[in-house]
Symmetry: C2
DNA sequence: GTAAGCCTTGACGCGGACGTCAAGGCAAGA
DNA sequence: TCTTGCCTTGACGTCCGCGTCAAGGCTTAC
């Protein structure tokens, strides 16, 4: 299959596939006319990349998974190198979520504090004495 | 005070201050020699910007806070427009944290599944039959 | 033969918040 | 006077994953 079809079947664009090739992540064979040619295995590799990208993995981080599949393993994460990436990503996510949660709490505190001093801010929610 | 001193006192760089000025966020008066001149109020504005930046606010999102201070209010969040930004940011943070938590769970599940099939991966933690 | 629709490479654009370099002006100390 | 260290503007570089032309070639349908 050619680049347009592969892109369509993976729900991405030809530009993206050329970009992956430029990064050495998804090289393509060439037909006699210079057109890129792909097969079903390439589709599988591409889907692996896309899934990880959707999870927020950097492109480089998908490489072990791709190489794992290309080595003949049934899944991209059937290799130790892929598991290392998983674990690192989990740690990164934990750190990030922790930071964001901390920031959220601080912003919420600031908001609460500020609302108590701004006209039209507080808007008592369920106390007596108001119909509008 | 001049740009270098202000930058140092706020823990940032002169480049950053010039950038803020180029965005109209922190304009500076000029001395007879063309040098930028700042006062203590500018330091307060700058600290407000930096605090919000550290929270992950976009530069544009700090503008209401800066204008609030410049309007003479005691705090950058003493104005309704600032509270609107706070609330929007809280919503963004909630969405983001939720997404990241979801991704974390999915990655953790993949890791668990994959570990059960890779040599050297599982490493039973507390079951019988292993001292090394 | 020609228009449509695919493909090719090359190269610039984007967003955000600056970093970094270049070329030069101004002020103060030895 | 010369050096040092601050300051000025201008402009390109960074990171990342592409989007978006531009100019042209191949193939197929009519």
């Amino acid at each position: 299959m050619r680049i347009g079809e592969l892109a369509a079947r993976a729900g991405t664009t030809t530009r993206t596939l050329r970009y992956y090739e430029s990064r050495g992540l998804l090289p393509a064979r060439r037909g006699g006319n210079g057109y890129r040619t792909y097969d079903e295995d390439d589709l599988k590799l591409l889907r692996q990349i896309r899934t990880l990208q959707d999870f927020g993995f950097d492109l480089e981080e998908t490489r072990p998974f791709v190489e794992c599949l290309r080595a003949g393993h049934p899944e991209g994460d059937s290799c130790p190198a892929s598991l290392v990436v998983y674990r690192r990503k989990l740690a990164e996510l934990d750190t990030l979520i922790e930071q964001l949660t901390s920031v959220r709490a601080q912003v919420a505190a600031q908001l609460t504090r500020a609302e108590a001093a701004v006209p039209g801010g507080p808007e008592p929610k369920c106390e007596l004495g108001g119909h509008g």
